[in-house]
Protein backbone atom coordinates (compact mmCIF):
# COMPACT_ATOMS: atom_id res chain seq x y z
CA UNK A 1 0.00 0.00 0.00
CA UNK A 2 1.13 3.55 -0.59
CA UNK A 3 2.65 5.86 1.99
CA UNK A 4 0.22 7.58 4.33
CA UNK A 5 1.31 10.90 2.80
CA UNK A 6 0.27 9.64 -0.64
CA UNK A 7 -3.05 8.45 0.76
CA UNK A 8 -3.69 11.85 2.34
CA UNK A 9 -2.65 13.75 -0.75
CA UNK A 10 -4.83 11.63 -3.02
CA UNK A 11 -7.74 11.98 -0.62
CA UNK A 12 -7.44 15.77 -0.50
CA UNK A 13 -7.11 15.99 -4.29
CA UNK A 14 -10.19 13.79 -4.74
CA UNK A 15 -12.18 15.84 -2.23
CA UNK A 16 -11.29 19.14 -3.92
CA UNK A 17 -12.09 17.75 -7.36
CA UNK A 18 -15.46 16.62 -6.06
CA UNK A 19 -16.05 20.07 -4.59
CA UNK A 20 -15.87 21.51 -8.11
CA UNK A 21 -14.97 24.98 -9.27
CA UNK A 22 -11.31 24.28 -9.98
CA UNK A 23 -9.92 23.75 -13.46
CA UNK A 24 -6.98 21.71 -12.23
CA UNK A 25 -6.58 20.01 -8.85
CA UNK A 26 -3.37 18.07 -8.57
CA UNK A 27 -0.26 17.35 -6.57
CA UNK A 28 2.18 20.20 -6.16
CA UNK A 29 4.67 19.02 -8.78
CA UNK A 30 2.06 19.50 -11.46
CA UNK A 31 3.52 23.01 -11.86
CA UNK A 32 6.48 21.50 -13.69
CA UNK A 33 4.18 21.03 -16.65
CA UNK A 34 2.42 23.76 -18.55
CA UNK A 35 -0.92 25.13 -17.39
CA UNK A 36 -2.94 27.21 -19.82
CA UNK A 37 -4.99 30.27 -18.98
CA UNK A 38 -8.34 28.55 -19.46
CA UNK A 39 -7.57 26.07 -16.70
CA UNK A 40 -7.54 28.54 -13.84
CA UNK A 41 -8.40 28.40 -10.94
CA UNK A 42 -5.88 25.80 -9.87
CA UNK A 43 -5.40 23.99 -6.57
CA UNK A 44 -2.09 22.30 -5.81
CA UNK A 45 -1.80 19.97 -2.86
CA UNK A 46 1.32 19.05 -0.93
CA UNK A 47 1.75 17.02 2.24
CA UNK A 48 4.66 17.08 4.68
CA UNK A 49 5.01 15.25 7.96
CA UNK A 50 7.15 15.25 11.09
CA UNK A 51 7.32 12.11 13.24
CA UNK A 52 7.53 11.45 16.96
CA UNK A 53 7.77 7.95 18.38
CA UNK A 54 5.65 7.51 21.51
CA UNK A 55 5.58 4.96 24.37
CA UNK A 56 8.22 2.86 26.07
CA UNK A 57 8.47 -0.01 23.60
CA UNK A 58 11.91 -0.67 22.10
CA UNK A 59 12.82 1.23 18.95
CA UNK A 60 11.11 -0.25 15.93
CA UNK A 61 8.00 -1.31 17.85
CA UNK A 62 6.57 2.02 18.88
CA UNK A 63 3.66 3.87 17.40
CA UNK A 64 4.85 6.81 15.36
CA UNK A 65 2.81 9.97 15.55
CA UNK A 66 3.16 11.88 12.35
CA UNK A 67 2.13 15.48 12.40
CA UNK A 68 1.01 16.06 8.84
CA UNK A 69 0.90 19.47 7.24
CA UNK A 70 -1.43 19.64 4.25
CA UNK A 71 -0.96 22.72 2.08
CA UNK A 72 -3.38 23.65 -0.65
CA UNK A 73 -2.13 26.42 -2.88
CA UNK A 74 -4.91 28.01 -4.91
CA UNK A 75 -4.02 30.08 -7.97
CA UNK A 76 -6.24 32.29 -10.03
CA UNK A 77 -5.82 34.65 -12.93
CA UNK A 78 -7.86 37.83 -12.92
CA UNK A 79 -7.76 41.61 -13.03
CA UNK A 80 -5.85 43.06 -10.12
CA UNK A 81 -8.94 44.72 -8.60
CA UNK A 82 -10.66 41.41 -7.99
CA UNK A 83 -7.76 39.05 -7.50
CA UNK A 84 -7.69 39.16 -3.69
CA UNK A 85 -11.39 38.51 -3.46
CA UNK A 86 -11.28 35.66 -5.96
CA UNK A 87 -8.47 33.95 -4.05
CA UNK A 88 -10.42 34.24 -0.81
CA UNK A 89 -13.47 32.77 -2.53
CA UNK A 90 -11.33 29.81 -3.53
CA UNK A 91 -10.04 29.51 0.02
CA UNK A 92 -13.68 29.29 1.13
CA UNK A 93 -14.13 26.30 -1.16
CA UNK A 94 -11.02 24.63 0.23
CA UNK A 95 -12.10 25.15 3.83
CA UNK A 96 -15.59 23.87 3.11
CA UNK A 97 -14.18 20.78 1.43
CA UNK A 98 -11.53 19.89 3.99
CA UNK A 99 -13.16 20.71 7.33
CA UNK A 100 -14.53 17.22 7.90
CA UNK A 101 -11.61 14.75 7.97
CA UNK A 102 -13.83 11.65 8.03
CA UNK A 103 -14.96 12.57 4.52
CA UNK A 104 -11.39 12.25 3.28
CA UNK A 105 -11.20 8.53 3.94
CA UNK A 106 -7.58 7.89 4.88
CA UNK A 107 -8.50 6.75 8.38
CA UNK A 108 -8.62 8.59 11.67
CA UNK A 109 -6.65 11.73 12.15
CA UNK A 110 -6.16 13.48 15.50
CA UNK A 111 -6.61 17.22 15.98
CA UNK A 112 -7.40 17.94 12.34
CA UNK A 113 -7.24 21.72 12.33
CA UNK A 114 -7.21 24.62 9.96
CA UNK A 115 -3.80 26.17 10.59
CA UNK A 116 -3.80 29.30 8.46
CA UNK A 117 -3.64 30.93 5.08
CA UNK A 118 -0.80 32.91 3.56
CA UNK A 119 -1.38 36.37 2.14
CA UNK A 120 -1.40 36.86 -1.61
CA UNK A 121 1.82 38.41 -2.82
CA UNK A 122 2.20 40.99 -5.55
CA UNK A 123 5.48 39.64 -6.97
CA UNK A 124 3.67 36.79 -8.60
CA UNK A 125 0.76 38.93 -9.75
CA UNK A 126 2.91 41.55 -11.46
CA UNK A 127 4.26 39.24 -14.09
CA UNK A 128 1.23 37.46 -15.42
CA UNK A 129 -1.91 38.51 -13.54
CA UNK A 130 -1.99 35.37 -11.44
CA UNK A 131 -1.57 35.13 -7.74
CA UNK A 132 -2.05 32.50 -5.07
CA UNK A 133 -2.74 31.87 -1.42
CA UNK A 134 -1.88 28.72 0.50
CA UNK A 135 -4.40 27.20 2.89
CA UNK A 136 -2.80 24.93 5.48
CA UNK A 137 -4.33 22.17 7.55
CA UNK A 138 -2.66 20.22 10.32
CA UNK A 139 -3.37 16.89 11.95
CA UNK A 140 -1.76 13.83 13.48
CA UNK A 141 -1.92 10.31 12.08
CA UNK A 142 -0.35 7.34 13.81
CA UNK A 143 1.51 4.58 11.97
CA UNK A 144 3.70 1.76 13.28
CA UNK A 145 7.43 2.42 12.98
CA UNK A 146 8.70 1.12 9.65
CA UNK A 147 5.20 0.75 8.23
CA UNK A 148 4.38 4.20 6.88
CA UNK A 149 1.45 3.01 4.82
CA UNK A 150 -0.64 1.70 7.73
CA UNK A 151 -2.84 4.04 9.73
CA UNK A 152 -3.11 2.42 13.19
CA UNK A 153 -6.55 4.00 13.62
CA UNK A 154 -8.30 3.15 10.38
Amino acid sequence: MSHIRTQIRNAVVAQLRAAGGFGVVDARLRVLRGIQSDQFPIALVSVADAGTAVGKNPPGQRPLQRQVIVSVQVHDIADVEELDEKLDDLAVKVEEALTEPSALGFGKVLDWTYAGTSAAHEDEAKEMGTSSVTVTYRGTVTTPEGKPSINIHP
Binding site: R33, G34, I35, Q36, D38
Partner: protein, 123 residues
Protein backbone atom coordinates in the same frame (compact mmCIF):
# COMPACT_ATOMS: atom_id res chain seq x y z
CA UNK B 1 -5.12 39.87 -38.13
CA UNK B 2 -1.93 39.29 -40.02
CA UNK B 3 -0.58 42.27 -41.88
CA UNK B 4 -1.03 41.81 -45.62
CA UNK B 5 2.68 41.89 -46.33
CA UNK B 6 3.10 38.74 -44.22
CA UNK B 7 0.06 36.95 -45.60
CA UNK B 8 2.10 34.62 -47.80
CA UNK B 9 4.65 33.83 -45.08
CA UNK B 10 2.98 30.87 -43.31
CA UNK B 11 2.38 29.14 -46.63
CA UNK B 12 6.00 29.63 -47.72
CA UNK B 13 7.39 28.51 -44.35
CA UNK B 14 5.24 25.42 -44.03
CA UNK B 15 5.99 24.46 -47.63
CA UNK B 16 9.74 24.96 -47.33
CA UNK B 17 10.60 23.70 -43.85
CA UNK B 18 7.86 21.17 -43.21
CA UNK B 19 8.44 17.74 -41.76
CA UNK B 20 8.56 14.95 -44.32
CA UNK B 21 5.11 13.73 -43.30
CA UNK B 22 2.37 15.83 -41.73
CA UNK B 23 1.82 15.45 -37.99
CA UNK B 24 -1.38 14.04 -36.59
CA UNK B 25 -3.26 16.47 -34.41
CA UNK B 26 -5.38 14.58 -31.87
CA UNK B 27 -8.05 16.41 -29.87
CA UNK B 28 -9.66 14.74 -26.89
CA UNK B 29 -12.87 16.65 -26.35
CA UNK B 30 -14.71 17.26 -23.10
CA UNK B 31 -17.62 15.07 -24.23
CA UNK B 32 -15.30 12.07 -24.49
CA UNK B 33 -14.97 12.03 -28.27
CA UNK B 34 -11.65 12.22 -30.06
CA UNK B 35 -10.84 13.58 -33.47
CA UNK B 36 -7.58 13.58 -35.33
CA UNK B 37 -6.42 15.22 -38.55
CA UNK B 38 -3.23 15.74 -40.46
CA UNK B 39 -1.48 19.04 -39.81
CA UNK B 40 1.67 20.28 -41.51
CA UNK B 41 4.24 21.33 -38.91
CA UNK B 42 7.80 22.54 -38.66
CA UNK B 43 9.44 20.64 -35.85
CA UNK B 44 12.50 20.90 -33.65
CA UNK B 45 12.80 18.03 -31.17
CA UNK B 46 15.20 19.84 -28.84
CA UNK B 47 14.91 23.59 -28.74
CA UNK B 48 16.32 25.69 -25.92
CA UNK B 49 13.87 27.86 -24.05
CA UNK B 50 15.15 30.89 -22.14
CA UNK B 51 12.80 32.93 -19.98
CA UNK B 52 12.57 36.67 -20.55
CA UNK B 53 14.75 37.58 -17.58
CA UNK B 54 17.25 34.83 -18.37
CA UNK B 55 16.84 33.17 -14.99
CA UNK B 56 15.29 30.07 -16.41
CA UNK B 57 16.77 28.05 -19.26
CA UNK B 58 15.34 24.74 -20.35
CA UNK B 59 17.14 22.52 -22.83
CA UNK B 60 15.66 19.90 -25.08
CA UNK B 61 12.17 21.34 -25.36
CA UNK B 62 10.34 19.95 -28.39
CA UNK B 63 8.72 22.81 -30.31
CA UNK B 64 6.54 22.61 -33.39
CA UNK B 65 5.07 25.42 -35.41
CA UNK B 66 2.24 25.43 -37.85
CA UNK B 67 0.23 27.93 -39.86
CA UNK B 68 -2.61 29.34 -37.77
CA UNK B 69 -4.87 29.18 -40.82
CA UNK B 70 -4.22 25.44 -41.24
CA UNK B 71 -5.14 24.75 -37.61
CA UNK B 72 -8.22 26.97 -37.72
CA UNK B 73 -9.42 25.14 -40.80
CA UNK B 74 -9.61 22.02 -38.63
CA UNK B 75 -10.83 23.73 -35.44
CA UNK B 76 -12.72 26.89 -36.45
CA UNK B 77 -14.17 27.19 -32.95
CA UNK B 78 -10.81 28.08 -31.46
CA UNK B 79 -10.25 31.34 -33.30
CA UNK B 80 -11.14 33.49 -30.30
CA UNK B 81 -7.95 33.20 -28.28
CA UNK B 82 -4.95 31.93 -30.19
CA UNK B 83 -3.06 31.07 -27.00
CA UNK B 84 -5.71 28.36 -26.72
CA UNK B 85 -5.48 27.17 -30.32
CA UNK B 86 -3.78 24.06 -28.99
CA UNK B 87 -4.88 22.80 -25.60
CA UNK B 88 -2.59 21.33 -22.97
CA UNK B 89 -3.10 19.01 -19.98
CA UNK B 90 -3.80 15.91 -22.04
CA UNK B 91 -6.50 17.49 -24.19
CA UNK B 92 -4.46 17.77 -27.41
CA UNK B 93 -1.63 15.62 -28.68
CA UNK B 94 0.60 15.81 -31.73
CA UNK B 95 2.03 12.69 -33.29
CA UNK B 96 5.17 13.73 -35.15
CA UNK B 97 7.25 11.15 -36.96
CA UNK B 98 5.63 8.36 -34.96
CA UNK B 99 6.26 9.94 -31.55
CA UNK B 100 3.38 11.24 -29.46
CA UNK B 101 3.86 14.62 -27.81
CA UNK B 102 1.56 16.37 -25.40
CA UNK B 103 0.84 20.05 -25.85
CA UNK B 104 2.19 22.31 -23.10
CA UNK B 105 1.27 25.73 -24.45
CA UNK B 106 1.14 27.65 -27.68
CA UNK B 107 1.39 31.20 -28.91
CA UNK B 108 0.73 32.90 -32.20
CA UNK B 109 3.65 34.99 -33.42
CA UNK B 110 1.47 37.59 -35.13
CA UNK B 111 2.69 36.67 -38.59
CA UNK B 112 0.29 33.82 -39.13
CA UNK B 113 2.34 31.09 -37.45
CA UNK B 114 1.65 29.39 -34.15
CA UNK B 115 4.45 27.99 -32.02
CA UNK B 116 3.48 24.96 -29.96
CA UNK B 117 5.56 23.92 -27.00
CA UNK B 118 5.41 20.16 -26.53
CA UNK B 119 6.25 17.62 -23.90
CA UNK B 120 7.42 14.08 -24.45
CA UNK B 121 6.25 11.76 -21.71
CA UNK B 122 8.61 9.13 -20.37
CA UNK B 123 5.87 6.55 -20.08
Amino acid sequence: MTARVFAALPRILTRTFREAAPATWIRHRDDGTTSSDDLVVIFNASSTKVSTDGLDTVFGVPIASCAVADALKLEPGRKGDLTLLFLGSGRDQLVIDGVTYEVESCRADGYGMCEIELFRKRT
